[in-house]
Amino acid sequence: MIVVDDLHKHFGGFHAVDGASLSVDRGSITGLIGPNGAGKTTLFNVIAGVLQPTSGKVYMDGEDISGLPPHTLFHKGLLRTFQIAHEFHSMSCRENLMMVPGGQSGETLWNTWFGRKRIADEERALKAKADEVLEFLTIEHLTDQKAGQISGGQKKLLELGRTMMVDAKIVFLDEVGAGVNRTLLNTIGDAIIRLNQERGYTFVVIEHDMDFIGRLCDPVICMAEGHVLAQGTLDEIKANEQVIEAYLGTGLKNKDKVGA
């Protein structure tokens, strides 16, 4: 569904993404792992249109989407969440969801003056949908809470919820797990799996927690120094020497030497 072909992204002299090529299958949950600074987030940003590629192409369903701005990609069904939650902090959780769908007639100035009726109808439908999503995420008690005042994990759920307001084709998740309590992370994982199975979303997931990756992802892609190091099931990856050396390591060396 997504094909990345020999992508490069350079910051000055630094090659953050250095010839990455990979593909993502429709309906899969693909994991993306790699050491810090491997270029994972940069790769996401290039695919999602936040950064312009230095060279190389990105295709979605055979169409060249390299360098398109994020809002255009959104309308093509490509959505992403952020490593650090990007909620609209002064708006309620419901509003956070209601603002998502594109092409609302109330977003045209003319209609706000002379098309009140149509807007009212649309708003009613949107509200119903937003409430449904909040329920799905089990945070319906936060409906009217300002999004700036909910906990970090709940913000991540809300981020996920935004992708459910439209018919997304593919969703990029950047470290949903970092700093999130493991129990909550399991809930998020459940939500991802349900979306994948019930709605047919394709996911690409960056994560450093191998348990989480193991539960969700097949296949797993490991990046290092800006290019793809290995690709396969998690077990295959875990057995890969290079991956172990660059990324996984061999565990604590002196954990029993401490104190009492």
């Binding site: 994020p70 990007h86 609209f88 002064s90 209601m98 603002m99 045209t108 209609n111 003056w113 807007i119």
Partner: protein
């Protein structure tokens, strides 16, 4: 205290202040404050739209207001006889050439691969275009400016009803805003403030120096009015009779009548703009703006075209300032490019927005009235204060003379104090955003 009560009280205070002026000084003064307060409110409304709702810091209000003023001249003034024949076509041709040069440069920029060759080509196009532009423009301009320079010496206007100039002023300002927005909002870092500041200065420089267009510093005097002239009213028996019926002498009756007419016109514009702004803001469009303000990156990722939205708001806000500018020039009956100063037309409007309460349209109206009131009434108050302070001193005491002469400077000082006090004790303005 509920919000409504509080707001009513605040507006009540303004009303009392104005009534006080009416009783103490004259109703003409009071009505004049209302009329200018309305215009100020409209400007503040435009800035508030940009700042309060989209976080765009516009420090070039002066330029947009001045463009509105230009519209009043170009629409309202009669055309100068023979001026168009003398150089009108030349000027238009030159302007088209200029625009063509820029388009050509952009085309070259887009077509050629980057590198020093492209830079040289672009510069060459621009320089050559510039000289051709000057070669066509200068003689035409000279011919236009030769026509009775003391009285005209410019192209003149279209001689249309001056009310038409108000929307046209909005369009002029919008066009300039589009240009600024396209450049500045497209910069990787947002440098809108300095861009607007600079372009406003450029607009004023053009108005001051392009005599063929605006008579430059020689000012255009006698822009037609949308309301009757007092003198005509005073000479009309019917009016004098009616005024007498209300107990006014002809002079007072006519001056008040004209001001009331202006106030009605301005109030109509303000009400329409308020209605449009409020409706837009309480709709998905407004929600989208709030989302963009909260988090641009996320809004972009949620499919909202942030740059286009910013551009739209920036254009709308500037257009409102342009409309207000045209209204002001209409009321002054003259265009005086030299009067456009950042202090008066940019920073003062900002004080109105901040003191009134940014993000709240009612606040802008309040700020517009309050600050305008202070702007024109602080001087007599300061004088009064200084007289009170120095009442014990001998008439010729140097300190007394100095203090009384400094009374005029109290205005700026008071503005500063009001601003600081409001920001200290009511940091979100007198009528804060909900």
């Amino acid at each position: 205290m509920t919000e409504t009560v509080r707001n009513t009280l605040l507006f009540g205070v303004i009303a009392i202040l104005i009534l006080f002026v009416g009783f103490q000084q004259s109703w003409n003064s009071a009505l004049l404050i209302i009329a200018m307060g309305l215009i100020s409110s409209i400007m503040a409304l435009g800035v508030n739209l940009q700042w309060g709702f989209a976080g765009l810091f516009n420090v070039g209000i002066m330029g947009f207001v001045a463009l509105g003023g230009l519209a009043a001249v170009l629409i309202g003034m009669p055309p100068t006889e023979g001026a168009f024949a003398a150089g009108g076509l030349g000027v238009i041709g030159a302007l088209l050439l200029g625009a063509g040069t820029i388009l050509l440069a952009i085309a070259v920029m887009k077509r050629m691969g980057s590198g020093w060759l492209r830079n040289i080509a672009v510069i060459a196009v621009l320089v050559a275009g510039f000289f051709i532009f000057r070669a066509v423009l200068d003689p035409s301009v000279a011919r236009i400016e030769e026509i009775n320079p003391a009285q005209t010496g410019y192209l003149g206007g279209l001689g249309l009803p001056v009310l038409l100039a108000w929307p046209v002023g909005g369009v002029f300002a919008a066009a300039a805003a589009w240009l600024i927005g396209k450049t500045a909002l497209g910069l990787r870092s947002d440098y809108l403030a300095i861009a607007t500041l600079g372009i406003a200065e450029i607009i004023i420089a053009i108005l001051k120096n392009e005599d063929w267009l605006t008579r430059g510093v020689k000012n255009v005097i006698g822009v037609p009015r949308p309301v009757p002239y007092e003198i005509d009213l005073q000479n009309s028996a019917a009016f004098v009779e009616r005024a007498a019926g209300f107990g006014f002498d002809p002079v007072e009756g006519s001056t008040l009548y004209v001001k009331v007419l202006y106030i009605l016109l301005f109030a109509t514009v303000l009400v329409i703009l308020m209605w449009m702004a409020q409706r837009a803001l309480h709709s998905p469009w407004g929600r989208m703006l709030r989302a963009i303000r909260d988090n641009e990156v996320a809004a972009e990722a949620m499919g909202k075209d942030v740059t286009a939205r910013h551009l739209q708001v920036f254009i709308l806000g500037s257009a409102i300032c342009g409309i207000a500018g045209a209204m002001m020039t209409t009321m002054d009956s003259q265009l005086t490019p030299g009067t456009y100063q950042p202090l008066r037309f940019t920073f003062l409007i900002w004080v109105m927005v901040i003191v009134g309460g940014s993000g709240n349209n009612l606040g802008s109206v309040l700020g517009g009235f309050l600050i305008w009131f202070l702007w024109v009434q602080v001087e007599p108050m300061g004088l009064w204060l200084m007289t009170a302070i120095t009442s014990g001193m001998a008439d010729e005491a140097p300190l007394k003379v100095h203090l009384i002469e400094s009374a005029a400077h109290m205005r700026l000082l008071t503005m500063g104090l009001v601003l600081l006090l409001v920001l200290r004790f009511s940091p979100r303005g007198l009528i804060p955003e909900k």
